[in-house]
């Protein structure tokens, strides 16, 4: 049933957004905040393909853009995560994707999203961007994304197979 897939994605994305702003962001991680939402989008996209990935990226990004205390421009994270969800869903063979490819792809996406958000923000006149900090943010975001992907991609893959088996029938 499609409804089970939607429920699984919605619950995981909500959980990721809430945990990212209430648990990960207050912790004193050096550099960027671990991009839990991005990794969740990546994992769902690996599990269900580019179509669901793009929709999950859009919803996850929109949630992150509106979750208090978000103060940036609405839609930027949604745009970037939509692209991440789509592109990662097309990465490699969906039925036989080695872990290093998923982790590498997620890490690259983690770094590029931070860079993309900074560049878009800069172009749109966001006065907050600290360009001196951007390289550190990009590198740390990629590292944290890789670490989270090692844990979450196999976990969400297994969860999806258990709860939505018909998506893997073909």
């Amino acid at each position: 049933m499609v409804i089970r897939r939607i429920l699984l994605c919605a619950v995981l994305l909500l959980l990721a957004v809430v945990l990212e702003v209430t648990l990960l962001a207050p912790l004193p991680f050096p550099g960027a905040t671990p991009p839990l939402v991005l990794v969740t989008v990546a994992a769902l996209s690996f599990a269900f393909g580019p179509n669901t990935g793009a929709v999950c990226g859009f919803i996850g990004g929109l949630l992150l853009d509106t979750a208090p205390p978000a103060a940036g421009t609405l839609g930027i994270t949604a745009l970037l995560l939509t692209l991440v969800g789509y592109l990662l869903g097309r990465l490699g063979d969906p039925n036989d994707r080695p872990l290093f490819l998923s982790v590498g792809g997620t890490a690259a996406a983690g770094g590029l999203v931070v860079l993309g958000a900074a560049i878009l923000g800069g172009l749109l006149g966001n006065p907050r961007i600290q360009w001196g900090d951007v390289p550190v943010m990009v590198i740390t975001a990629a590292l944290y994304a890789a670490f989270l992907a090692v844990l979450l991609v196999p976990l969400i893959q297994r969860l999806s197979r258990r709860l939505v088996p018909e998506a893997f029938a073909r």
Partner: protein
């Protein structure tokens, strides 16, 4: 390849939708459809954040105090030294205080630290890669919190509320690059604007008087806004770290070390209102506004009022 085509159509629709949102939001984020989306998102997520914050908040504070165990010895030594120094200062101040008390009773003033606050806990923080220094606290319109209210902690000014939901409020911290606060050097009549630098350990203060005499270590307090919104008067902000620009230059700026460590916020207070003090009837002044800034704004006020002003930040520091 029908599957691939639907994928691309979905992608194109979502990308266009995102870009549309960005454009609408840039045109006016405080009203219109994006404001509705924002409040809808906040309405869904705020209760979840409250639950999650109440679970992780105590854990995070515990981790914080465990992490700073090593600093405690140094801190005790520093505090002992400071205590000795302050006690010596207190003897000197005692005489001054008697004079201030006398002046106070003369002017018919009541204490000006009558901030009416509602306590709140920080439950969520914006991701660092967004470069926005904002936090969410667990007090909202149900507790009387409205947008544009001062937020303070035991150490000093934290920021101001920018948006509220029934149960939460978002606080723009003073170190955010878009924040600016009207401020005054305590004990002098120098005023200026303190703006955030986007970094947690420094603020910039633009002084309005190019000939201002500023010493390193001078205390900066909030000037106060009309009707105490968004900033109530007399809240300590920080101390002067260094001066930039030479005397006489058109604009001079000072680097300010904020009192509040925004990376370790836990319990804060939202200033709902400042209790008004008795009007200064005996003085022939043209309808004075009931804030602490009178002595600065009105040139005809006697200079001897100023010690009262400089005493203010030490007392108001207690929320």
């Amino acid at each position: 390849m029908r599957d691939g085509r639907t994928n691309r159509i979905v992608l194109a629709i979502l990308v266009l939708l995102s870009i549309t949102l960005v454009i609408i939001d840039l045109r006016g984020s405080s009203s219109g459809p994006t404001a509705a989306i924002r409040s809808a998102g906040a309405a869904v997520l705020a209760p979840l954040e409250r639950v999650s914050g109440s679970i992780f908040g105590p854990l995070l504070s515990l981790g914080d105090s465990l992490g700073s165990l090593g600093e405690k010895d140094q801190q005790i030594a520093d505090l002992t030294a400071e205590n000795a120094r302050l006690r010596a200062d207190l003897d000197l101040v005692a005489n001054e205080k008697a004079r201030v008390a006398e002046l106070d009773s003369l002017l018919g003033l009541v204490g000006n630290n009558g901030y009416v606050t509602v306590p709140a806990q920080v439950i969520a923080v914006g991701p660092a890669q967004g470069f926005a220094w904002t936090v969410t606290i667990d007090a909202g319109t149900r507790d009387g919190v409205e947008p544009q209210m001062s937020v303070i902690s035991g150490a000093g000014l934290v920021g101001r509320t920018i948006s509220v939901t029934p149960t939460t409020a978002t606080v723009l911290l003073i170190v955010d690059a878009t924040s600016s606060v009207g401020a005054r050097l305590a004990g002098t009549s120098q005023i200026g604007i303190v703006s955030g630098s986007g970094r947690q350990d420094a603020l910039q203060m633009q002084l309005l008087d190019p000939l201002a005499v500023v010493d390193v270590g001078d205390i900066v307090v909030s000037f106060g806004s009309e009707a105490d919104r968004p900033y109530a008067p007399g809240i300590p902000i920080g101390t002067v770290l260094e001066m930039r620009g030479t005397e006489g230059q058109l604009t001079r700026s000072a680097l300010i070390q904020p009192y509040v460590d925004v990376s370790r916020l836990d319990i804060v207070g939202v200033v709902l209102r400042v209790d008004e003090r008795a009007p200064r009837e005996p003085l022939p002044m043209p309808t004075p506004t009931p804030t602490t800034d009178d002595s600065v704004l009105s040139p005809q006020t006697d200079d001897s009022v100023i010690p009262e002003e400089s005493a203010a930040p030490d007392e108001t520091a207690v929320p």
